[in-house]
């Protein structure tokens, strides 16, 4: 891709990632955050963290499918944004919802599996974000790649947190589970595209198409 066009793509990526936050801040300032603003902020920041994490994980598969290798460069900034929204999400829970009352927060977390998953996911995303700082990334050498494969674990933790939080039941397919199912399907498809089996198949198919073109 030409550098000017690529620049535009990058601008769109940054704008798309920052826009939801700007919109939430604006809505908060103009008091349009529904009649339960705290819960609304918590839910939306969580949604955006998940969406951006999936977008980050979609970069490599998109590069594989399209052949445009530059897309891989969006993986890191999108992952950082996802971690940023996760930090906002957790901060809202601690300071806005529970007013920094650690005793209540700890007893709340203690009884809820979903919050353990959410907490683990946030900590992992934060670790991955910090180790993405260039100098640390450089010093970690081969380890960086190994550690950062954990982003898939983070995605699984986030999805478990999401599935356990929504009001419904995945087992009986009832309630507000549509978003959860869509997210699980997207992650599954992204993982399938990354497998060597799929990529071998893809090269094989491409070869066939090229042959028939001749």
């Amino acid at each position: 891709m030409k550098s000017t066009r690529w620049k535009i793509v990058r601008i769109f990526m940054h704008a798309g990632a920052v826009f939801p936050l700007a919109w939430l801040v604006l809505a908060a300032l103009t008091q349009r955050l529904t009649f339960n603003p705290v819960q609304y902020l918590e839910q939306r920041s969580g949604d955006y963290a998940l969406i951006l994490l999936l977008a980050s994980l979609a970069c490599t598969p998109a590069a594989i499918l399209s052949g445009i290798q530059q897309i891989r460069q969006l993986r890191r900034p999108l992952g950082l944004y996802a971690a940023g929204y996760a930090v906002i999400h957790v901060s809202l829970f601690i300071w806005l919802d529970y007013g920094g009352d650690w005793q209540t927060i700890l007893s709340t977390i203690n009884g809820r599996t979903t919050l353990w998953f959410g907490l683990a996911a946030s900590i992992l995303l934060l670790v991955l974000a910090i180790t993405s700082i260039c100098c640390i990334q450089f010093r970690m050498k081969v380890w960086w790649k190994r550690v950062h494969a954990l982003v898939y674990l983070a995605a699984a933790l986030v999805l478990t947190h999401y599935a356990l939080t929504v009001k419904g039941n995945l087992m009986t397919l009832s309630g507000k589970i549509l978003g959860v199912i869509v997210a699980i399907l997207i992650l599954a498809i992204l993982l399938i595209i990354r497998t060597t089996t799929f990529q071998t198949l893809l090269t094989h198919l491409r070869g066939k198409i090229q042959k028939s073109d001749k």
């Binding site: 009649f35 819960q39 007013g99 209540t104 809820r112 356990l164 419904g168 039941n169 309630g175």
Partner: protein, 312 residues
């Protein structure tokens, strides 16, 4: 603890007597239209109840302030219209709650089929200001207009064999567009033990803030059981059935280990999704501790000898 409405912070727009007299005529008009078989336009928001007779505010606690009308009517869990609490009001605006018949049947000596208008003539309305605690961890304070369920049950003469009361919404896809969706066992059904239903706090509400109940809050008639989580208080009731066995209920059937039959507000019984130790009163910045039985401790004798962590 008894306190008068004036003692708690009133909602700014709360109904003035003059306005009430001026609008009282409208109820008559819509009743007349219903009698002619003409479908009246959806209940306008500001139609007051003409039959409200006595006011008895029940056990308000310190710091309880009325939740504004706008909040009560724009933040609703009513899956028949939408899964999103913010969207229910809009989706329900064309809901027609006239004509509406309520059937009281099952183990009764005198089964009753009664229209909502007849019902309102038969049972004088009382104002009951109740806290409403949702299982999701938020709460409101709502001035309901209604009458105690025991009065209705007395008139149908409940048979000795009856032990539970089953309340159900009408199954009507035209009225409730989401019925049949999302994998739930429709119509919405809830139940109470007979002694719970007969408790003076348990009411059938037809209005709030002295106005006819808006569709999103369960028009034309709904259950209100203030010491239980909000999901027990079925909206838009059309069937009340006296039964011998504990009835199957909507949320219990969906996720049995999360929503018990009793569903008493209890900070000591944890819920896997939400903390039940504290709650957010809508409009307030800080959380407040959740009280056992939502603060209505007078119901405690109903559960004497029961392990509330088992029968949650």
């Amino acid at each position: 603890m008894q306190s008068k409405r004036e003692e708690i912070t009133p909602e700014g727009l709360y109904f003035s007597r003059r306005k009430f007299l001026k609008l009282a005529g409208l109820v008559g008009v819509s009743a007349a239209l219903a009698a002619c078989g003409i479908k009246p336009t959806p209940t306008p928001e500001a139609v007051p109840l003409s039959t409200l007779q006595t006011v008895s505010s029940n056990s308000l606690m310190n710091g309880d302030t009325l939740t504004p009308y706008d909040t009560i009517t724009n933040y609703n869990n009513f899956y028949e219209f939408s899964l999103s609490k913010e969207d229910v009001a809009e989706k329900a605006q064309n809901f027609v709650s006239h004509p509406w018949t309520i059937s009281v049947e099952g183990l009764v000596e005198r089964p009753m089929q009664i229209s909502i208008d007849e019902l309102l003539q038969q049972y004088p309305l009382e104002e009951r200001i109740y806290r409403m605690r949702c299982v999701e961890g938020w709460s409101m304070v709502i001035p309901w207009a209604g009458f105690p369920v025991y009065k209705l049950l007395k008139d149908v003469k409940v048979k000795d064999t009856a032990r539970f009361v089953r309340f159900a919404t009408q199954y009507n896809h035209d009225l409730f567009p989401n019925q049949g969706s999302f994998g739930f066992a429709w119509p919405y059904t809830e139940g109470l033990r007979l002694d719970e239903a007969n408790h003076d706090l348990t009411i059938l509400a037809v209005g709030l803030y002295n106005k006819v109940l808006p569709a999103q809050d369960g028009a034309p008639i709904r259950l209100v059981v203030p010491w239980k989580y909000g999901f027990k208080s079925v909206k838009s009731i059309s069937k009340i059935e006296l039964v011998e066995e504990q009835p199957q209920t909507f949320w219990n059937e969906a996720v049995f280990n999360e929503y018990g039959f009793y569903a008493n507000v209890n900070p000591n019984v944890p819920h896997p999704r939400w903390s039940q130790e504290s709650e957010r009163r809508l409009g307030e910045a800080e959380r407040r501790p959740t009280e056992l039985f939502n603060g209505y401790t007078e119901v405690a004798p109903l559960y004497e000898g029961m392990d509330l962590t088992v029968d949650f």
